[in-house]
């Protein structure tokens, strides 16, 4: 989990450094951390031989992050809504939901091997970012 902490720290530094307001920054960093956890846990299966690759671009107009793993991939259709009555008491299945809640666009791309998730948050000129 050290790599997740490294990603989280880098995201905090980059996003807060861009002058994005603290509530928004908290959500974005949380979403990025969830993506990193997914990559390490569900993608790479904690296998230290598999790499996680993260890119981040941050400006006052947009935050764009990609997180790629080297795992076997997964079926997006198998991600049920964790807020549905029948899923509410499940112990797992909220990570991607949180990511989708915090970002405007969440795109998945199949790699060979692995999966890449791309997260995009756009800011209007007068909101989100300040200073």
């Amino acid at each position: 989990m050290d790599s997740v902490a490294t990603v989280e720290e880098a995201a905090e530094k980059l996003i807060e450094g861009a002058g994005i307001d603290s509530d928004e920054a908290f959500k974005l960093v949380m979403g990025i951390r969830e993506a990193a956890v997914n990559a390490v846990l569900h993608g790479n299966g904690y296998d230290p031989a598999r790499q996680m690759t993260v890119t981040m671009e941050c400006s006052q107009e947009r935050v764009m992050v990609t997180v790629a793993d080297e795992g076997p991939g997964f079926d997006l259709g198998s991600l049920p809504d964790p807020r549905a009555e029948e899923n509410l008491m499940r112990g797992t299945g909220r990570g991607i939901f949180l990511i989708r809640s915090f970002f405007d666009e969440v795109n998945f791309r199949q790699l060979h091997p692995g999966t890449e998730i791309q997260l995009v948050k756009k800011f209007a000129a007068s909101t989100g970012a300040s200073g």
């Binding site: 989990m1 997740v4 908290f26 949380m30 951390r33 969830e34 956890v37 846990l41 964790p82 807020r83 509410l88 008491m89 499940r90 112990g91 797992t92 909220r94 990570g95 939901f97 949180l98 809640s101």
Partner: protein
Amino acid sequence: MALSIATRELDGVTILDLSGRITLGEGSVQLRDAIRELISKGVKNILIGLGEVNYIDSSGLGELVSAYTTAKNQQANVKLLNLTKKVKDVLQLTKLYTVFDIYEDEASAIASFK
């Protein structure tokens, strides 16, 4: 900051005062172990104080749900106390706010177990 858990008892209720983060690799396992230990000892009334918890991730949410269901299965109750804004926001977003009994003051929470 890892999770720290302090345990105390008041009027037949075991209170876990949590401080730090409830996340995969940091606090989730500690919380799970603490709840399981109490349940195995036959404790029926458990109040989880979250006033010093400023971060919970999807894994931590799963542990709270697991604590709730584990307790229910043993005819015990788990309730939550003093949510910080950030934890409350995440519970509301995931609709888990509707699942738990949540209290803002300790006296009311203690009284609710009677």
